[in-house]
């Protein structure tokens, strides 16, 4: 499909109006066809045969609220050689995102108002809306609570020690109690270090064959089990990051059925790749939690389809080629995701699963927006709403290359994989930050 610009001034500047014509609108209220007019950062009208200064042909395309990533490592401050807020935001925009939640495992850790302010400031000129997650404990060390209230006063709604889990039961209980008083949500990276320390992949047939130390699924599941118990004890809201095992998905389903205020996410690599990918000792496939068995992949897909897992979150984790070329057991964990998540979800969960495109968009946009309390994202495509939108051509098939796209890193585990669905345009508060697959900022 092609899209046409009728004006050379595509920046969606305030005075000009833009109409996205002929698309299939999918949002939290359902699915319909119609044109969408954007003026001054907001959706001015939605309906048939609308006109504006700039016309974007969206025939054959899906028009949806911009995607929201609950789990992005932008690496700034501290690891600018791997990614910056600017480059990571570009990758996000190209992936159809209008908002990302930056994880706090930076250097320094985002564990105080000062660092929150710094990251928010750096994010101000970015291609997407950069939100910040704060750490639960000081320096993510798991010893003392970080000043959550001072960070919450700057708009932080999610707290996590992502990269590791809060190991201490008592501290986690206190954190949940304290967080519930602030109305914020704790998000856990579930991994019991006593079972995972020194390991570099999933424990199973492949770790045995490759002679690599593995961590069992139970390293994740024991903490999921504990945190469900603590959520029950405290009544606090809780979000579970990157669920990767069949056992975890089953426990989440049970806890939700029991009425606990629990949400959970899965990462694209956990519904796409298995531990067999590690066979060549390519650390591109090293990630925490590790790539699991085929049965776990099937369970994650089923959990997303059934709605036990609310969100698809990328865990976009850039690392330089130098560090990814270290021996497998020494290389840092993590892989890129922002530019591939939507296409992987269409390919694996719609074509290779039982979900609809609308189901996938719910888990990529409005459901994660609700979890993170992002009131301006994932909104219905309706008059007066902020114009955070993506236009996706669902029929484009493309092959993922090794360039890493707009990211500063190239740790792409999907090279050579053919996927379906390509983001054509992304709007951030009315500004067209991606035009025909080209990022504008």
């Amino acid at each position: 499909m092609s899209s046409e610009q009728t004006s050379t001034n595509q920046m969606g500047t305030d005075a000009r109006s833009t109409v996205i014509k002929g698309g299939r609108i999918i949002d939290s209220t359902g699915e319909r066809s119609g044109d969408v007019v954007v003026v001054d950062g907001r959706i001015a009208s939605v309906g048939p045969d609308l006109d504006a200064d700039v016309v974007i042909d969206a025939s054959g395309c899906i028009v949806a609220p911009g995607l929201v990533d609950l789990h992005t490592h932008l690496r700034q401050p501290g690891k600018e050689e791997a990614e910056t807020i600017e480059t990571g935001s570009r990758a996000a925009a190209l992936g159809g995102y209008s908002a990302v939640l930056a994880m706090p495992n930076t250097t320094p850790t985002i564990d105080s108002a000062a660092v929150v302010r710094e990251v928010l400031e750096l994010g101000r000129g970015a291609a997407v809306d950069v939100h910040v997650a704060g750490a639960i404990t000081v320096d993510r060390a798991g010893d003392a609570l970080a000043p959550m209230a001072e960070m919450a006063s700057l708009g932080v709604r999610i707290f996590t020690d992502d990269g590791s889990g809060v190991q201490d039961d008592r501290l986690m209980r206190r954190a949940l109690e304290y967080a519930s008083g602030l109305g914020v949500t704790l998000a856990q990276h579930c991994e019991v270090t006593a079972l995972s320390e020194g390991t570099c992949m999933h424990e199973g047939e492949w770790s045995a064959r490759l002679g690599l130390p593995g961590q069992p699924a139970e390293a994740e599941e024991l903490m999921v089990m504990r945190d469900i118990a603590l959520a029950r004890l405290t009544g606090a809201r809780m979000h579970f990051l990157h669920m990767s095992t069949a056992g975890s998905v089953a426990m989440i389903a049970g806890a939700r059925a029991a009425g606990l205020a629990i949400t959970a996410e899965a990462a694209p690599h956990h519904f796409t790749l298995t531990d067999a990918c590690c066979a060549d000792y390519d650390a591109t496939f090293k990630v925490h939690p590790p790539l699991r068995s085929a049965a776990d992949v099937a369970a994650v897909k089923a959990g997303l389809a059934a709605g036990h897992l609310d969100a698809i979150a990328t865990d976009h984790a850039p690392h330089t080629s130098e560090t990814k070329e270290l021996p497998f057991d020494q290389a840092p964990p993590g892989m890129l995701g922002l530019e591939y998540a939507l296409a992987l979800a269409f390919t694996e969960l719609v074509d290779g699963g039982s979900m609809t495109e609308a189901d996938v968009l719910a888990r990529l946009s409005w459901q994660p927006a609700a979890i993170a309390g992002m009131s301006e994202h994932g909104r219905p495509v309706a008059d007066g709403e902020p114009a955070n939108l993506c236009v996706v051509d669902p029929s484009t098939r493309w092959v993922i290359d090794a360039t890493g796209g707009a990211s500063r890193s190239r740790n792409v585990p999907y090279v050579g994989r053919e996927v379906r669905g390509r983001v054509r345009h992304t709007f951030s508060f009315g500004e067209q930050v991606v035009i025909d697959g080209e990022v504008q900022r």
């Binding site: 047939e205 690599l212 130098e322 021996p327």
Partner: protein, 328 residues
Amino acid sequence: MNGNLLTIAEMSTDEILEVLDVTDTMVEVNARRIPKVPALRGRTVVSLFYEDSTRTRLSFETAAKRLSADVMGFSVSTSSTKKGESVRDTVETIEAMGIDAVVVRHGSSGVPAQIARWSGASVINAGDGWHSHPTQGLLDAYTARSRLGSLEGVHVGIVGDIKHSRVARSGIEVFTALGAQVTLVAPPTLLPPNLEPWPVKVAHRLDDVIGDLDICYLLRMQRERMTEALVPSLREYTALYGLTSRRADRLRPDALVMHPGPMNRGVEIAGEVADRPNAVITDQVANGVAVRMAVLYLLLGPGRDALGEIPRDTTVEGSMPDTDTRAM
């Protein structure tokens, strides 16, 4: 082998047998008055050892020298790796000097496979992490074959810390490829997870299988396993898994006792048992040089067909014109 020797798993049975057959020739060379032939003259072999192993390194270097290759040793402790140079940069630096093969030992599984992706030289795995030690497996198979004639139907018990052992993994691969039945004898804590797909049986007591073994292969028991709650004590390990004199008496009279060295006498093997005539531990060491010569020859030499041209020892050391060999 595709120009490299990374694991035994990627060798066909015919390739394994070819190495063993060429080893016969190399054993003959090693028995000569001057055990040296010009087969690899002009070839350069680098040993790149990130983990100390004087025995394996000496064995490889001796093998290369007996084939007249030039040998460069890259010693990690005196090199730039201490200054933080990456493996890739080191390999590319060495390669720029013009080399034909690199013999790699590394404490992390998979490093030889990584190097093979970056390097045009032949990569020979001299042991990586818990993963693989293919020349050890080949020399074990050669040693066993030369004593037993064939490994078809032979029952091999591999005893001890299988989980952390590259020797065990390569042994399983080579023995099963040659038709042997392998039983792993270890407590569950020292076995790899998910053994179901492996072509092996498992026993948790040496006493259960000792009388049925043709080969009792003992692995070195490392003391640090005590601190990892894998076995309660060396004493208890020896009681269940050590080849004590009394247990060794229950072996079949023709059964072999093997060990990759270095031995902990009194732990996994009684000192007296290691010195019995059916213990072939020093044969393993001697054959190690010949097997590594065979591997180097097959990877770098003029080809199997030229084996007949390996000259008699009168031609050694350039005392005859180079035209006697095709070894360039």
